[in-house]
Structure formats: structure tokens, C-alpha cells
Symmetry: C2
């Protein structure tokens, strides 16, 4: 297949591009380096020494004898260049990672709120509009998030996209219907993903665009079979308070022998998936596109659910570091339960890597190995969901 | 109250600004003249001779002895100027009309699709973000549309925003819940209004912003008590295929003694409201803001439901013109039923103007009076929902 990976320089995009190239697809990466530019803005950098795109691609050619092309383009802005790229590459599928993906970053101030909405919504709309305009039959695969559901399932096993409901009609009769699972986004970032869903649904209904939307859990792990082939291929590892997910921050703290900082009670349940499983899932999603005239196909791309305090306990015990409970910067419930249906990927052959078995490798292979590059002061999350005054009234809880 | 009307130069915004000024509020109009600029783009103009803003405002001062201020600002772009305006005016409420509001225009080509998404989503997000940043307690009133529901209610009386549902839980027990009524937007324009809903919900939940969202039907009529006070205050009347709603196009055709062009079978039901009732509803919505900590308050701002063929029949008989059935440019069901709950406004004192009684005035007072300004060639809708080839396969239906 000819495949374009939008956002192919990022944490998920880069290993996905390599994996798809490795299994035989012809891959083109499109990126505007926004993630590296935000590192500059925040004064952070990946713990792992990621290389410039040119170095990455020549290393890949050396290792695999395979070529990946690169095009610098801003998906939210460069629409006519995008049309040119689609007509030139004539992709069978495009993978859309080209969105600002940090919830804390999206809540930092009005500047980041506005950037996240503008970038994410326009990127998705440009892509869909360009696919229509190109007249090509392109399968659009998008990285969504489990977070659109607001991390609460209250007695429901979260289905893969669609929820069966019953409604009382005017005549009193009970009607059955199936709807997109109702959303409850917890940040501006998550909100943009709920807006994406509406665009996928519209372009699917109006223009027959085939779309697969992957509602992903929190991705952990750094390396995949491909990124370990050469150190120049190494993937990003973010541990800062904005882009570092809760697990990466714990791993870094464990490696540095600092107490693990749990926001609030740690009572919140989150869905997780290893980066190696992410790239496998995308390969599987490409193999089973929705049929023409099918609705948007939605997978829950996650493999395990953990409460944050249990995750802290696991790491605390394995690496002998204490746990610190601190005030939660987010506005969210202190405790929640989460139950997720992920039968689609399991039925298509996914065999998950578990946190229990993969953590040691992460701490030893990444966090300890590169700990001299760590700026410990960057680990705490400094973005607040509401202003300081209001925040003091909040229940402490967990991210 | 201090009130800012965003989009106060437009078809709904202008009579709203005058009405609110007339009942004693201090009104500031903010607009970027995008509607007049789109007239230039399309080579159309209002049938009625609308005046430049400066003329409108001085005429209003002469008639009413009241002052309305005007600020030129692009809500989707000029964020820091917007913050300045909020801090300067310190409004108690803002009315948000500042969106591209034509469904056919939003489907014209990728250029108009992208403009509509970019303008509407960023305008709403900028407004909400600025209200948060200002720290002021501002009631946000937004003009939404009944069209978010896709014009089908299939046995359900469409409630005012929220739908009670039942879901089977994991344990088999039936759970009750209340959700935003599921959306089914029929155009890019309508899609942006569904995205707006998600932003209102998020900023309401996260930041406690008080929001009233008015899900409006198709507005008909041209004049209000205020716009008739002086001809220089006259409101827009759009009759072209993009901005002219179905009723205005019929009225124009009736005045010109041309056959009424019904798209498809005319079997689609639509909700309607007179512009005089629109401005009354906004006044009522301002009087009853949601309480602090309330969810978004949603009204169905409509007064009557008609099938398009019945509307054509009404006008055809009243004005003795024939009806022509032509292919529908939209992708939509040929027939639908529509039942809408609008008890909120009725209970707050709205006494609707009906189509049956108000139509004659429109044809005589507006369409016939200004018919020498009409370009009959602009009446047909030339925007297609899908490209020509695909369109030929569609069921003819109605707009």
C-alpha cells in the first residue's frame, strides 16, 4: 500500500511509519515539526536523543534498505500543497496523527487553548476536505482517544464507538437506537477529539469517506522492534508535566529515586497500551478497512486498565521509591471506574504487552540509560484547568 | 444591561441589536462585515437597500434617541482586541451571531467548507476563551440551529436540548441517563453548530460559563417594530440560492410571478420562526439566564412546522403561481416528520406570528416593493452537496 503518515515525526507517528515501512508498505511522512517546536517553547526536550528527520531517514535506509519520503507541510494551513501531495502520492490510506495531543498543554493559557482548537479542527477538516476534492478512494485512519468519554463508565462497558439506547417516543412506545457513545471531554485537547468525531461522521455520511477512528488509551513504552534497530532511530520519551504521561513521569521519578507524585487520591482509572501494540493496531486497522458505505469504524485501542494509585504502587514496589500525594491540577472526579470493550483488535490478532512485564525494560533501557539528560524540575505539571483561586476549592484527584 | 451583539450587522443580529437597545439595554455591535463581503464574493445583494453601518446607527439615534456603539473586529481572528473590548465594555451578556450561517454556501467547494469550519469554530472558541480570561461574569447567548438534529424526529418530540435515555448496563440492569440530543448535521455549516455545542458544554463544565444556546428554526420575515421605524434601518432580505431560505425564495418567485421551485418532493418538514419572534426570544433568554452552576440552557427557538410542499401550496394559492418540482442539490431523506417541543419560550411569554397571517405583508411590503432590485437568475441553488456524478444518483428531495 501507499501510505501517508501525517504527524510522522511524533511519538506515535514515527514508530508507526517505521513499522509500516518494515512490513512492506510505501510510506511518506508529512510533518511540520510542531512537536519539536513546542519543546522549544516549553524549554523541554525528549529524554532520548531523537535525531533530525534527515538523520532518522538515512539511518532507516541503512538498516532496512527501504526508503521513506518526507514532506514538510502544515496540515492545518497548507491546503493546496496537501491536495498536490495526495494527487502525487495517490495513497491507499492516510494515518492522521497531526494534532496537538497534550491535555495539560491545551489548558495552559488561552494561547494554547486557541492553538489546539485551531490546529486540530482545521487539520482534520483540511484532510477530509482534501480527500473528497482529490476524488481518490483513500482510507482515513485517525488517532482518537479514550478520553472523549471522560474516563467514567458507571456500570457500562464502553463499547467500540456506538451505544445502543432506548428512548420513550411521543406515543409512549420504547424506541431502540444506536448512537455515538456520548462524550464528556476533560480538556480542550479532548474536546477537539470529540469535534473530530463529528467531522468523521459527516464526511462519511455525505461523501462516503471510509474512516477508522482509533480511541487510544495512554501510550506507554518508548521503543518498538524498528526503533531499536539503530540508536539514531530512537523514539521520543517525554517526561515533562505537559507531554509526559503519568506513567513516564513515574518511570523517570523511579529512575532518579525521587518520590512518585500522584495527583490527588490516585483513584482514577485509565486505559493503557504499549507503543509496540499501537503500531501493531494501526497495521491491523489498515488490513480491515470499513467497507464502502459502512459507517465510521471505531476501535478501542487499549489493552489494560489501571488506577493511577495501583500503577504507583506497582512501580514503587518494583523500584523501591516512595509515593507522594499532591493536589490535582485537573478538574475531574477523584475516583472513577473504567471498563472497556476491546474485542475488535483482540479478534484481529493483537497479543498485548502488559505493564507488569514491560516496565522493567523501560526503566532500565530508557529512564536509567538517559537519566543524565533529565531535568527533574520539569516533571511536575504546572498547567491548571481553572485559575488558582478556583483551583483551591477543588477536590484533589489524579492525572 | 450592557450587551455586546457579535455579528450585529447581519440578518438576525441587526434587528436584535435595535430591539435590545429599544427596550433599554446599552448595546455595542461587533462585526467584521463578513456577510456584506460574501455578497461581494457571490455577486449578490440584499433585495432591501440596507445602509452602511454608520448610516444605520445615526438613523437609529435620530429615531430612538439611543446610542449604539460599533466596533469592527473579526471574532475568529482578533483575540487580543476582543479581550480589550470585553474589559472595556464589561458586558452582562453577549449575543453570538458571528458565524457563517448558510448551508449551501458551506457546501460550495473546499474553500467555503474550510472558511466555515475555521470561522465558526474559532469564533466560538475565542469568545468562550476570552470570557474565561476576562474573569467577568458574562452570560453567553448563542444562535444555534434546529438543523443540528438533521430534520428527523421519527416518533420523538425533539426536546429542548437534552434527551432521557435508557442503557443496558454490564450487569443487565437498565440505567437511566440524560444526554445532549444526538446530532445528525446535514451540511458543513450545521456540523460547525454541533461542534459549538461541545465547546459550550466543555466551558460550562470546566469554567462555569453560563451559556444559553438557541436552537433556531428557519427565520422568515424581514422587518421588526424597530427596523420599520425608518427606511435607513431596513433589514436584509436574501433571496439567492445560497443565503435565501426556502421561504424567501418562494416569496420572491411569487412576487415576480415565477413558478415556485420545490427541491424534490417537498416532503421535508422544517421548523420556522418570524424575525420579530427571534428578537423577542433573545430578549426573553436574556431575562432568564441559567443559574451559576447550571448546565447549558437550550431552547428550541421555533414556532411552527411546515412541510416544504405545504408551504409552496400556501403561497401558490395565495398568490396564484404554479409550483415546479426540481432535483434536490442536498443529500438528505426525501420525506421526514418533525415534532418539536418549544414550551420554554411559550411559558416565558412568547406569542408567535404565524406564516398563515404574516406572509401577505412580506410579499406586499418587501418582495413586491423592492422587486426592481431582484436578479431572478440568482434564485436557484447552485451549491451541490456531492459532486455532479454522484448527485445524479440521488433521490430528489427538498430544501
Amino acid at each position: 500500500m501507499n501510505i501517508i503518515v501525517f504527524g510522522g515525526d511524533g511519538f506515535c507517528g514515527w514508530p508507526t511509519a517505521l513499522h509500516l515501512s518494515n512490513v512492506g508498505h510505501d510510506v511518506v511522512i508529512v510533518d511540520n515539526f510542531s512537536r519539536r517546536n513546542i519543546d522549544n517553547e516549553l524549554g523541554c526536550e525528549s529524554l532520548t536523543p531523537i535525531q533530525p528527520m534527515r538523520t532518522r531517514l538515512s539511518a532507516w535506509k541503512e538498516c532496512s534498505r527501504r526508503n521513506i519520503d518526507f514532506i514538510k507541510l502544515d496540515l492545518a494551513v497548507d491546503y493546496y500543497q496537501l491536495i498536490g501531495v495526495l494527487c502525487d502520492v495517490r495513497p491507499d490510506a492516510v494515518i492522521h496523527f497531526a494534532e496537538q495531543r497534550s491535555a495539560p498543554y491545551s489548558m495552559k493559557s488561552s494561547c494554547q487553548k486557541r492553538y489546539t482548537v485551531n490546529n486540530n479542527v482545521n487539520a482534520t477538516n483540511n484532510l477530509l476536505s482534501a480527500v473528497v476534492e482529490s476524488g481518490l478512494d483513500i482510507h482515513v485512519v485517525h488517532l482518537g482517544t479514550m478520553g472523549v468519554y471522560g474516563y467514567g463508565s458507571a456500570g457500562i462497558k464502553i463499547p467500540e464507538g456506538y451505544l445502543k439506547i432506548k428512548i420513550d417516543s411521543e406515543s409512549g412506545e420504547q424506541l431502540e437506537n444506536e448512537i455515538l457513545y456520548p462524550v464528556k471531554p476533560g480538556s480542550i485537547y479532548h474536546m477537539t477529539k470529540t469535534q473530530d468525531q463529528l467531522m468523521f461522521s459527516f464526511y462519511n455520511t455525505n461523501d462516503g469517506i471510509r474512516v477508522t477512528d482509533l480511541h487510544q488509551g495512554i501510550v506507554w513504552g518508548t521503543q518498538t522492534n524498528e526503533t531499536t534497530m539503530d540508536e539514531r532511530l530512537i523514539n521520543r520519551f517525554d517526561y515533562d508535566g505537559d507531554y509526559g504521561t503519568v506513567l513516564n513521569r513515574f518511570l523517570m521519578q523511579a529512575a532518579m529515586k525521587y518520590p512518585l507524585t500522584v495527583h490527588g487520591t490516585g483513584g482514577q482509572a485509565r486505559a493503557f497500551i504499549h507503543i509496540q501494540d499501537t503500531v501493531k493496531c494501526i497495521e491491523l486497522a489498515l488490513r480491515s478497512p470499513p467497507a464502502h458505505n459502512d459507517r465510521v469504524k471505531i476501535y478501542n485501542q487499549m489493552t489494560e486498565v489501571y488506577k493511577v494509585r495501583d500503577l504507583a504502587k506497582l512501580i514503587s514496589e518494583k523500584f523501591d521509591v516512595p509515593v507522594d500525594y499532591i493536589t490535582n491540577p485537573r478538574k475531574e472526579a477523584a475516583e472513577n471506574e473504567l471498563s472497556v470493550d476491546n474485542r475488535l483488535f483482540l479478534s484481529e490478532g493483537l497479543s498485548p504487552i502488559t505493564l507488569e512485564h514491560g516496565l522493567l525494560q523501560e526503566v532500565a533501557g530508557i529512564a536509567r540509560r538517559y537519566m543524565d539528560r533529565c531535568d527533574i524540575s520539569r516533571i511536575p505539571c504546572t498547567s491548571l484547568w481553572v485559575n488558582r483561586e478556583q483551583n483551591e476549592g477543588l477536590e484533589p484527584s489524579v492525572s
